[in-house]
């Protein structure tokens, strides 16, 4: 069996009376893009910080790149934290050189690699500007360079796309895929479910300091199928018993079902209603958004899954 690039097992961490992480476990394997999901304050960032040896866990085990974190391993990790920043009163190029040197690159090697990255992310002409003179998006891109310039084996990105416009979001997505194709392991912590669906192979959902969902994205979605239905037709699909939420998507109705309600019950109810004409009725594959909300709100996977 492949050795995980990163493994955390039953992590727990408290700050005074506040328990930030109660029981978080997951494994991340070489070459995969792993999504770490969860609502605000769930314990994602604290878990990442423990994994990267910024915080010491109260309990639990951590293994990164084949063992405990040490100084040599830090050179093989690229971390883009949620609370990100650069030295505002310094110029862009020397800042990136400094940060890459701290990751063990020689001066000559940094200067060889840096121009390509700057050109690719449209920052080359701004390299002599102070960081504070750059737009927020430019600063974000500069931090992506700082994270990847030393070609790390493990890339940890906390909210990768915040502050980026759609064009640059697409560019960063492409870069993340390239990193994966180059055999790098990527851990993404995010709220943006469509990006998780587009990029991640596997996910862990953390809620209130616990891992509440963990596995392959496709498998999880299959497990949650049956908790929603898609209907094409005419009539009033609102206020149907057993339906939590009904919304129209591209002319179709998307109904999220309450716990215990089955699609067959809903179909029976609808056919019994006056003025309802159903052209298509199918069990919907739930989006990760739905799964996220169901899980966080305490809903369970359907029994039949």
């Amino acid at each position: 069996m492949t050795t995980p690039t990163a493994m955390v097992s039953h992590l727990s961490k408290s700050f005074g009376a506040v328990r930030a992480v109660e029981d978080v476990s997951f494994e991340v394997y070489p070459g995969e893009i792993f999504g770490l999901l969860g609502p605000n304050g769930a314990g994602k960032t604290t878990s990442i910080r423990m994994m990267l040896d910024i915080f010491t866990p109260d309990r639990g085990e951590i293994s990164v790149l084949g063992g405990k974190m040490d100084e040599a391993k830090k050179n093989r990790i690229g971390y883009l934290p949620e609370e990100r920043g650069l030295y505002k009163d310094l110029k862009l190029e020397p800042t990136l050189i400094f940060m890459a040197r701290l990751k063990g690159l020689s001066d000559a090697e940094v200067k060889r690699r840096l121009p390509d990255w700057l050109k690719r992310l449209d920052l080359y002409d701004h390299r002599h500007k102070k960081i504070q003179e750059l737009s927020k998006g430019m600063q974000q891109k500069a931090q992506v360079i700082a994270t990847l310039l030393h070609e790390p084996d493990l890339v940890v990105i906390d909210e990768a796309f915040s502050g980026l416009d759609p064009v640059n979001t697409r560019l960063v997505e492409v870069i993340i895929r390239e990193q994966q194709a180059a055999g790098k392991t990527i851990i993404m912590s995010t709220h943006q479910m469509h990006q998780v669906e587009a990029l991640c192979n596997r996910i862990a959902l953390i809620n209130k300091g616990n891992t509440v969902l963990y596995g392959e994205v496709d498998q999880i979605k299959r497990n949650f199928a049956g908790n929603a239905v898609t209907i094409t037709g005419q009539g009033d699909f609102l206020n149907v018993p057993g339906v939590l939420e009904a919304r129209q998507v591209n002319g179709d109705w998307h109904l999220s079902l309450a716990s215990g309600a089955s699609p067959q019950d809903v179909l029976r109810t609808l056919t019994a209603r006056d003025g309802i004409k159903i052209e298509r009725f199918e069990i919907a594959e739930p989006s990760l958004d739905d799964i996220f909300i169901w899980t966080v709100q305490g809903r369970q996977e359907p029994d039949h899954a």
């Binding site: 961490k13 408290s14 700050f15 005074g16 910080r49 990267l52 040896d53 910024i54 915080f55 010491t56 109260d58 100084e71 830090k74 050179n75 990790i77 971390y79 934290p81 609370e83 990100r84 920043g85 650069l86 030295y87 505002k88 310094l90 400094f98 940060m99 040197r101 701290l102 990751k103 063990g104 700082a146």
Partner: protein, 406 residues
């Protein structure tokens, strides 16, 4: 270790490239040079270069008439001009051809009276010294050469403390003020670099760079690198000033007699160097702690100002050191870790500091520095990730006690 030096170099260049640093660093040496130039200009331009006359009625100035320039004569030794009688000398004085004239009366050898005549301003010391040398040279012609030379040069007095540890040269006032100014300058430099260190830590927090730093190196490498970089900044400032002062004194000594009396207090430099390192580490530890606690650099600067007071306190009681350099207050301040460095410096030129006080003071400041750096690294680890939150005293003490963030 390499990362420590990368951080040190980065910090050094970051500060030394700032315009404010260049202005601050060069201002003091330039001020010193300006003062020195001013003094020299006043002395050289303002000094009367006209000859000094003499009338030798006693016949004692006949043997040696030309005097080789002496080191006390300054850059332009005044010429000594002999007159056969007083009327001739007076006429030259009235014609302003000479600035003054001496008269050695016929009974000089018995009376030892010499008269000096001038209009409004007495000739400068260097000119009077030149005439005295001529007189001594002639009076000692009958003595053996070695004795004559010794008699002409006079004594060189060195006062030494009874235990032999400290000596004071001829001009004790100057040798009190040299340590005083060294202490003043060291204080400014050390405290400004300590303040830089506080800023360097709080900047990491303010710029949100600390997490990336923490995943690139150990807190020790980060803090150590910053401390070394800033110590290099301090040493660069000291070096620039020391070289400027040295050159100014060497050049100035050609013109200003008082500067030649300054003795370089090597034993003081060595002692201060021993105190400098732990004192710097103590300041660094305190500033790192403050920088880690606050949310903004501005908040930290207020606390840094209060800490600076702890280190500069001896300057406020320097009058006590002048009047009673071995008073109980002086002893207490020598032993107290934050004040020992400056107190030792200030007392150095005024007294012989008891050896036990210096050893005890050094041990205390070193122990305090070790504890403070250790505690600061724990506070730093906790405080660095509390964005926008000021670290309360309770959390800080817990971090120091347990070494954890929780």
């Amino acid at each position: 270790m390499r990362k420590l030096w990368v951080v040190a170099k980065h910090e050094f260049l970051k500060i030394t490239r700032k315009r404010s640093f260049l202005l601050g660093t060069l201002a003091m040496p330039l001020f010193f040079v300006a003062i020195m130039v001013l003094v020299v200009v006043v002395l050289v331009v303002g000094e009367d270069q006209r000859p000094i006359g003499y009338v030798d009625q006693a016949g004692v100035l006949a043997t040696v008439t030309a005097l080789p320039p002496d080191e006390g004569d300054g850059p332009n030794p005044v010429e000594l001009q002999a007159f056969t009688d007083e009327a001739q000398a007076r006429a030259a004085l009235e014609a302003q051809e000479i600035q003054a004239y001496y008269v050695l009366p016929a009974d000089y050898l018995t009376s030892r009276d010499v008269q000096l005549f001038y209009w409004e301003k007495a000739p400068p010391n260097s000119a009077q010294r030149r005439f005295n040398n001529l007189l001594r040279a002639n009076l000692s012609t009958s003595l053996p050469v070695e004795v004559a030379e010794r008699a002409q040069k006079g004594v060189e007095l060195t006062a030494r403390s009874a235990d032999g540890r400290q000596e004071v040269g001829g001009d004790s006032i100057i040798n009190i003020f040299v340590p005083f100014f060294i202490g003043l300058f060291f204080s400014i430099v050390v405290l400004s670099s300590g303040s830089y260190l506080m800023e360097a830590v709080s900047d990491e927090k303010e710029n949100r760079t600390i997490e990336v730093m923490a995943t690139s190196m150990t807190p020790g490498q980060l803090i150590g690198g910053k401390a070394i970089g800033l110590m290099a900044v301090a040493l660069a400032q000291i070096g620039i000033l020391a070289v400027t002062i040295a050159i100014s004194l060497i050049v100035g000594a050609q013109f200003i007699e008082a500067l030649r009396a300054i003795h370089i207090p090597w034993s003081m430099f060595l002692t201060l160097a021993l105190f400098f390192l732990p004192t710097y580490a103590l300041i660094a530890g305190m500033m790192i702690g403050v920088g880690s606690m606050v949310t903004e650099t501005r908040q930290g600067q207020q606390i840094a100002g209060a800490i600076s007071m702890l280190f500069t306190l001896p300057f406020f009681v320097v009058v006590v050191f002048f009047s009673a350099p071995n008073s109980p207050l002086a002893t207490i301040l020598t032993l107290f870790p934050t004040t020992s460095f400056l107190t030792v410096t200030l007392r150095w030129g005024m007294t012989t500091i008891p050896l036990w006080e210096m050893i005890a003071g050094w041990v205390l400041v070193t122990a305090s520095a070790v504890f403070m750096v250790w505690a600061a690294s724990r506070i730093f680890r906790l405080g660095m990730l509390r964005y926008g939150q000021r670290l309360d005293l309770k959390s800080m003490l817990r971090a120091v006690r347990t070494g954890t963030e929780g």
